[in-house]
């Protein structure tokens, strides 16, 4: 089969299946809901790691340090999240004003 024939044949393939599960989506337009989600600072402990050659003990140390500092870090996250959320709420109000029909 020539490449052109293969391409033509493939264009007509249809298996009629819709496979669910994790799927990547490009985020082009950021909605208010998405901004709300992002406003909350929430880091993933699984991402604390070291890429050094004997990195396992360093990773362990970093995670222990993170646990030890969680009260202090939690305060910083909470304050930043509060600010972020309030900004998004104001933005939401402004958007609703813009979309509202003009008054009498």
């Amino acid at each position: 089969m020539k490449p052109e024939e293969a391409l033509e044949r493939a264009r007509h393939a249809s298996f009629g299946e819709d496979l669910s599960g994790f799927a990547v989506e490009a985020t082009n337009d950021v909605t208010i809901d998405k901004l709300m989600e992002w406003a909350i600072i929430e880091t993933d402990p699984a991402l604390v790691r070291s890429t050094r050659f004997y990195g396992a003990p360093i990773t362990w140390y970093k995670r222990a340090l993170r646990r030890a500092l969680r009260q202090e870090l939690g305060q910083a996250y909470a304050q930043q999240s509060r600010f972020n959320l309030m900004v998004v709420r104001r933005l939401e109000e402004l958007e609703s004003l813009r979309e509202a029909p003009p008054g009498p």
Binding site: M1, P3, A6, G21
Partner: protein
Amino acid sequence: MRLHQVLSGAGPFDAITREALAIRELASAWGWDGADHAVHIDPRMGRRMRGLDELSSAPGDTLLIHYSAHAPKMKRVLDEPGRKILLSHNVTPAKWFWDHEAGIALQCALGRREMHEFAARCDVVVGDSLFNAAELGSDRVLPLVLPWIDPAVALPPEPDGPPTVLFVGRLVPHKRQDELIRAIALLRRHRRPDARLVLVGEPLHESYLDALVALADELAPGAVTFERGLDDEALAARYRSAHVFLCLSEHEGFCVPLLEAFQHGVPVVARPRGAVTETVGEAGLLLDGPLDAMAELVHLAIDDAELRGILRERGHARLDRYAYPRTSALLRELLDG
């Protein structure tokens, strides 16, 4: 002559870093001095890459700036004395990262904004593909300088074993490993129940890898292998045992693994996105179609001996364009000005 190279980030498995190291070897062979610098340096690089703060150029020096993302303080390179060449490797659109890694998304968003300023302030602007050069208003291309691209090496024999589909590249959203897993699931359910998929690459982070592993377990249990940190020999072995190289990336500035597939005689099936069209040319099966069509193409590329033969030959011939003697001569011409 002194040549300084500047990168936003450097890591042991990164194609841009590997090119920079190859250029450094060439420069040393030409008797040129200088060093390579990066903003973010993976600890595994050791002293092969130095920090940007150690960069000190003089008038008459050449700075080769490999641009692929924003990095803090990288702009100061533009104030250094010497002739500046911007080599664009492209910056991935941030839209692929906002949901998965905010830091990288920021680097990409800023990078895409400021790359035009870099282009305006450099003496020469080139891209490693025309796709990359054109984004910055240039038509000058310096394909990646890769010493192992050798069209003189004979095609290896066809692989044995179960039908194996391969993709090599970081596990990141725009390379669409999620789509590759779906394609292999379709292939197994409708055409080749024994097909398997091998994904080689460093993950964006462990959570992203976990999501892909869970998807593979759900849709094609036992058929998908994830590998990382392979040395050159192990990677070559993966290519030699692959029947098809499938690329469903939504964005590529060049895509070196396509050339690796050609070098190892692996037929290429891909979506024509970014620079993929240009790198593959007529040597692979390019189709902008749904997953059903891509799975069918993979099936045909595995199953049809005539088609496989044509694709292997065309891929091998495509390497002439990227052969090391040619790219190193183009590099020398660029650096000599």
